[in-house]
Amino acid sequence: MNKKRKIADILVNIWMRIGLYLLLSIPVFIVIGLFWKAGPLLKSQSLANLLFSSRWSPMKGEFGFLPFIFSSAYVTVLAFLLSAPLCLFAAIYLTQFSKQRLLNFMLPVIDILAGIPSVVYGVWGILVIVPLVSDGIAPFFGTSSSGYSLLAGGTVLAVMCIPYMLNMLIEVFHTIPVGMKEASLSLGATSWEMVKHVILRKGFPGIISAFGLGISKAFGETIAVLMVVGNTLNISLSPLKPGYPLPALIANNYGEMMSIPDYDSALMFAALLLFVVILIINLFFRYFIHKGEKV
């Protein structure tokens, strides 16, 4: 009996290890594959040129990724600015101040919103946000826009990120012990002071990681953005102008125009770039989480 248990223990242990290593190897293989495929481009062009040049004409062998990087960063930051404060306040309100019934009603709604496929958000963007930009916002500011714009991309992204981040934030705020809130209140804090000193302080690492995951998701999101962002090369600070984020570049062009030398390699480089940026975002937020946890 004892021997049997020991063997079972060892087997389970081995099986868990294999699973873990398999899991860990996936990103490693992705990076190796992307590197290998992007090799030809990296050999023929300098990295600085690839990252900071804005000249993109594959026919002539010019591959400057700056417009794509710019568009990606633009829609991501825009989406973050639109969604993060909203989610933070909504989560605080729902967990601290609202009636239990509202929270019980909202939780499944948020889950449903998070589960809607991104193509549906894209269609919604075309039907609602794009006309709103072209017929409402652009004329209001005295310019014209087709509506397919960075603003439309950022807005659709924000709407997609909201249920995702809200869910995580609610989870974070639920883990804060009631006793700590009671301590703050019983020392004379008002509700808002309690939120500031306990909820936001104690929840800080969780808030940061929710934001980090939200940004990663926004940066990599493809279909919904591609449908409303215009897909035109452009480096302009105006949100009413179209853009062309990295994921859209890959999704629009992979498998086409493969006769152009290095084009295939360039798309792989774009994928590698996406991967690396998301890695950096995650490391960056992880650093803050660690810093926050020390308090």
Binding site: V178, A183, L185, S186, G188
Partner: protein, 280 residues
């Protein structure tokens, strides 16, 4: 007889010396009760936690709440400074008068009211900040900005609870790095720093060694001069050592209350008798 300045021991001797009637008279002479609970009910959708609680808490006395686990002692303390508001599932009805003011009414300045009633919760919950900031927290909320005043208060209050020697070199480290017993004393120091008039202490010595317990007990006897203390304890001997008045609760009701000598030595009800026998 000015009973407020007498120590507990001499009060006891004094009490034994005078006749029953005189005690009644001397009690009547005291100021109106600082806390008056009238018909307090707390219920959830599953049932009642507190049933028709009527209780008067005399000023500058230690009132001890006794009773088996789950009988509603903590809930009663939390009702007194309306922390029950945080628990949306609890329905509170009845009147609680603090210094004649009904705190259950809407439109209260809850923050002010709560500062008058220091709550020491059953489990210590340091705020997510340093040891120093934990003690300074209430003062800052009060609007006190003077660094000198604050650090003086931090030092005195940490000394009062016997924690100063242990933490004076690491006031800047996070409060949750302290042991549970140290956290318990930190929370007491933090509560005393805001100078409440009533102290609600929920088993404040449950995680302490005998020496620290003694320090806290002596502190409470001393605090009685200026504060009213409502103390929950499961330690009968502690109740006997500290209490001026004992309230015995059972399943959300007050079964018996009175002078500790009467309650703990000559219980009237069967329930209390059984509780005391099993407890010894």
């Amino acid at each position: 007889m000015n009973s407020m300045t007498l120590s507990y021991q001499s009060q006891l001797t004094a009490r034994r010396a005078v006749s029953q009637n005189e005690i009644k008279v001397s009690e009547l002479k005291e100021a109106a009760p600082i806390v008056e609970i009238k018909g307090l009910n707390v219920r959830t959708k599953d049932g009642e936690i507190l049933k028709n609680i009527n209780l008067e808490i005399p000023k500058n006395k230690i009132v001890v709440l006794l009773g088996p686990s789950g009988c509603g002692k903590t809930t009663l303390l939390k009702s007194l400074n309306r922390l029950t508001d945080l628990h949306k599932e609890l329905k509170v009805s009845g009147q609680i008068l603090i210094d004649g003011q009904d705190i259950t009414k809407a439109g209260q300045n809850l923050a002010n009211m709560r500062q008058k009633m220091g709550l020491l919760s059953q489990r210590p919950f340091p705020l997510p900040a340093s040891i120093y900031k934990n003690v300074a927290y209430g003062l800052k909320l009060k609007g006190i900005r003077s660094k000198k005043l604050i650090s003086h208060s931090v030092e005195t209050n940490l000394k009062r609870v016997g924690l100063w020697n242990e933490v004076q070199d690491r006031l800047k480290s996070p409060a949750n790095s302290l042991s549970i017993g140290q956290q318990q004393r930190l929370c007491l120091a933090r509560g005393l720093a805001v100078k409440p008039t009533i102290i609600l202490a929920d088993e404040p010595t449950s995680a302490l060694d005998p020496i620290s317990t003694k320090i806290i007990e002596n502190l409470f006897k001393d605090l009685k001069k200026h504060y009213t203390i409502i103390l929950v304890t499961h330690v009968l001997r502690q109740a006997l050592r500290l209490a001026d008045h004992v309230v015995f609760m059972y399943y959300g009701e007050i079964i018996e209350q009175g002078h500790p000598d009467d309650i703990l030595k000559n219980p009237k009800t069967k329930i209390l008798k059984k509780y005391l026998i099993d407890g010894n």
